[in-house]
Symmetry: C2
Subunit: 374 residues, 2 copies
C-alpha cells in the first residue's frame, strides 16, 4: 500500500489522575503532528479510537468532541471495537487515505480509566463480551483464565512459562520512559502475586490505565516516514462457548493471513511485533496465531533469544493498556523502532514490524504490518 | 464517485417492545442483501452505525456482535457520531470501497431506545452535547428551542410555520408503511400539544424509536443500483455557546458545499432531500443551510409546492428517529425514490436525492448525494 505513517506520539501511560482526557488528546495529537512536521490545518479528518467514554463518562460524539478540543473543524469519527478500537481506527483511517478522498489524516487512540471505580470499569469492559458471558458474571481475567487452562492442559505449559511473558515485558517496559511500570520483575514475584482467576495471577494481567497515542497517515512520504504494508481485520464469535477451539484465536489467524498476503511477506520476515498481551496467555496465543511459532511451542521460546522481538514497548502488561489507545500506541512503537529512534529498547536492524490488536477475548483482531521506507 | 448502493432495506420504525435488536438487524441486513441479490458470503465488511448500546445496554463491540448475529465472519466496525452515527457509517463504508480494499460492504444502522426509561434515554442522548450543556442539565429539546427562539426573533417566523413542518412530515409518513406514525395531523393539533421546551411542543419533536436500516455498497453497479455522487462530513463545536451564529448550522453548510463540489451539481439540481428534522426548527435550518432556500425564507415555503420535496419518508418527525438507524434509513429512502419504487409517496421524476444527517445540535453533519444510474 502506498500510504505512510509520517508522525507518531504517545503520552505517558499510567494512573494519571491529574491529567484530563483533553490534555492527553492534545499531547498525543500535537506530538504526532509535530513529529510529522505537519501543520494542523493540513489534517483533513480525525479518527478516534475509544471504547468506554460513553459507558463510564456519559460522553459520546467523541469525534467532534476531540476535533473541537484540537481546534480542527474537520470530519471526525469515533471507531469502536472494544479493546481493538485503536487498531480499527487506524484501519479505517488508512483506507480513507487509500480511497484518495483524504490526503492526510490523524488517528487518536485514547482511554481514561482510572478515574472510575474498578468495579464500574470491569462491568464496562464486559461490554466487549457476549450476552451469555455478561449475564453469567464472567470477567475478562476469568475468560482468559479458561483459555490458559485449556492451553496448559493441551500442551503441558506451566504457570512459570506464562509468568516469563510478564517478566520479559516488564523488562522491556523498564526501558520505555512512557511505560506505566518501570520495575523489572521476576518469575517468583509473578508466582507469588495474588490470584485473580486461577491460573492467572495479578502480574499475569495488564493494568487499568490512562493514556493516548496518535499517528499521522498520509499519501505522501517524507524522510522519516514508515510505510503501511498491510492493514487487515477479522472477527469471530463474541463468546468463547461458540468457538471450535480454545487454544487459538481464529480472528488473529485470519487477519494475519490477509496481512501477510497484502504485504507479500512471511512471518519469518518480521523483526519485531507488538502483540495484544492483555494477559500472559494472550501473548503465547498471539506468537502462534501470527505464525511466528508452531502451535504449542511458543511458551518455550519466551525470554530467549529469538528470530524476532515481541513487545519491545513493554506490551499491554508492562507499558499499560488504556484500551482505545493501545492499538494506536502499537503503531507508534513500530514507527519509533523502524526509524531506529527507540533508544535503550531499540530492536537492532528492525526493518519490518507487525502489530496485533485484539477486541474482547478475540472477537475482533486487527493486524498491521509496517516497514522502513526503502 | 464510481460506487453504488445496490440494495437497501428498512424495518418498521416505532415502539417495538416485542422485537429484539438482533431481529431488527437481521430484518434490515438480510433485506438489503436480498434487495441487492447479493449472497451474504460476498460481503467483505460490516459498518454498524449506533450511538446508545453501550450507555443504555452495556454492550459495546457492536461490529463483531452483529457480524456474529448475521453469520458473517468478516471485518466489522462500529462507527459513532451521536445521531449522525448512521451517516458516518455510510461515509466510512463508501470510502472503504473507494479505496479498492473492499468490493462489497454492508452498512447497518440500528437503535433500540424504547426498552429503557425515558429519563435514561434523555441522559444518554446528552452524551452528544458539550460538557457544559450536560452539567447544566440541558436537553436536546431545550437546545433546539434556543435555536428556534433566536431564529424566530431574527426572521419573524411563527410557531404555526414551525408546526407546518410536522404537519407535512406526518402526512408523508402516513404514506410510508414503515413509519412510526400513520396519522396525519393539523397545525391546530401541533399548537395544542403539550409544551416540551417553549416554543417547541410535543408535536414539534421527533419521537423515541426502535428500528434498523441497511444498505449494500459496491464497486459494481447492477440494473437497479443508485450511484453515490458525494459523501461529505463536517464538524462544529459540540456546544451552542461556542458558535458564532445560532440561525445556521455551519457543519451542514460545509458538508453541503463539499458534497455539491464532489457531485458537480448545485442545490437547484436536487429533486428530493431527506433532512435531519429532529425538531421542526431543524428542518427549516436544513432547508437553508443546504442551499435550497435563502436564509430566513424557508419557513414560508413549508407545505407549499416547491422545486423539491423534503422528507418524503416522513423524516425523523413522522417516520421515527432510532438514532443510529436514521442516517442509513435516509439513504434507503433515497434509493427507493430514485428507483421509482416508493409507492404512494413517490416523488415524480426524482433523479437526484440528498441526505443530511446531524449529530447533536450540529456538531457533526453528513451529506450524501445520490443519483439514478444513467
Amino acid at each position: 500500500m502506498n500510504i505512510y505513517v509520517t508522525g507518531a506520539a504517545t503520552t505517558k501511560f499510567g494512573e494519571l489522575w491529574g491529567v484530563s482526557p483533553r490534555t492527553l488528546a492534545r499531547q498525543a495529537a500535537f506530538g504526532a503532528l509535530k513529529d510529522a512536521s505537519v501543520e494542523a490545518e493540513r489534517v483533513e479528518a480525525l479518527f478516534v479510537g475509544n471504547m468506554l467514554s460513553g459507558m463510564l463518562g456519559g460522553q459520546e460524539h467523541l469525534g467532534a468532541f476531540f476535533a473541537e478540543e484540537l481546534g480542527l473543524s474537520i470530519p471526525a469519527f469515533k471507531i469502536e471495537g472494544a479493546c481493538a478500537s485503536g487498531g480499527l481506527a487506524v484501519h479505517n483511517a488508512a483506507f480513507s487515505v487509500l480511497s484518495g478522498q483524504y490526503e492526510t489524516v490523524l488517528v487518536l487512540g485514547i482511554e481514561k480509566m482510572t478515574d472510575h471505580k474498578p468495579e464500574d470499569v470491569a462491568t464496562a469492559l464486559m461490554g466487549a463480551g457476549s450476552e451469555e458471558e455478561r449475564s453469567a458474571g464472567a470477567t475478562f481475567p476469568g475468560l482468559y483464565a479458561l483459555l490458559a487452562r485449556v492451553y496448559m492442559k493441551e500442551y503441558g505449559t506451566t504457570q512459570e512459562q506464562l509468568a516469563a511473558v510478564a517478566v520479559k515485558n516488564h523488562y522491556h517496559a523498564s526501558l520505555n520512559p512512557n511505560a506505566q511500570f518501570c520495575n523489572p520483575i521476576t518469575v517468583e514475584q509473578v508466582m507469588k502475586s495474588s490470584k485473580i482467576a486461577d491460573p492467572l495471577k495479578l502480574l499475569d494481567c495488564s493494568p487499568i490505565s490512562d493514556g493516548a497515542a496518535a499517528i499521522v497517515i498520509s499519501k505522501k512520504k517524507k524522510g522519516n516516514s514508515v510505510q503501511i504494508m498491510a492493514s487487515a481485520v477479522a472477527t469471530d464469535t463474541l463468546g468463547l462457548a461458540q468457538r471450535k477451539s480454545m487454544t487459538e484465536l481464529k480472528a488473529t489467524q485470519e487477519a494475519a493471513k490477509k496481512a501477510y498476503e497484502q504485504a507479500k511477506i512471511s512471518p519469518r520476515d518480521v523483526h519485531l511485533a507488538e502483540v495484544h498481551d492483555c494477559f500472559t496467555i494472550a501473548e503465547i496465543l498471539a506468537m502462534e496465531d501470527l505464525g511466528f511459532y508452531k502451535k504449542g511451542s511458543a511458551a518455550g521460546a519466551v525470554g530467549k533469544k529469538n528470530h524476532l522481538v515481541i513487545n519491545p514497548s513493554g506490551g499491554l502488561k508492562g507499558c499499560g493498556h488504556p484500551v482505545g489507545a493501545t492499538g494506536v500506541k502499537q503503531i507508534a512503537e513500530l514507527v519509533e523502532q523502524l526509524r531506529g529512534n527507540a533508544g535503550a529498547r531499540q530492536v537492532k536492524g528492525a526493518k519490518i514490524g507487525l502489530a496485533q490488536n485484539v477486541g474482547g477475548s478475540g472477537a475482533t483482531a486487527v493486524v498491521h504490518i509496517l516497514c522502513k521506507v526503502r
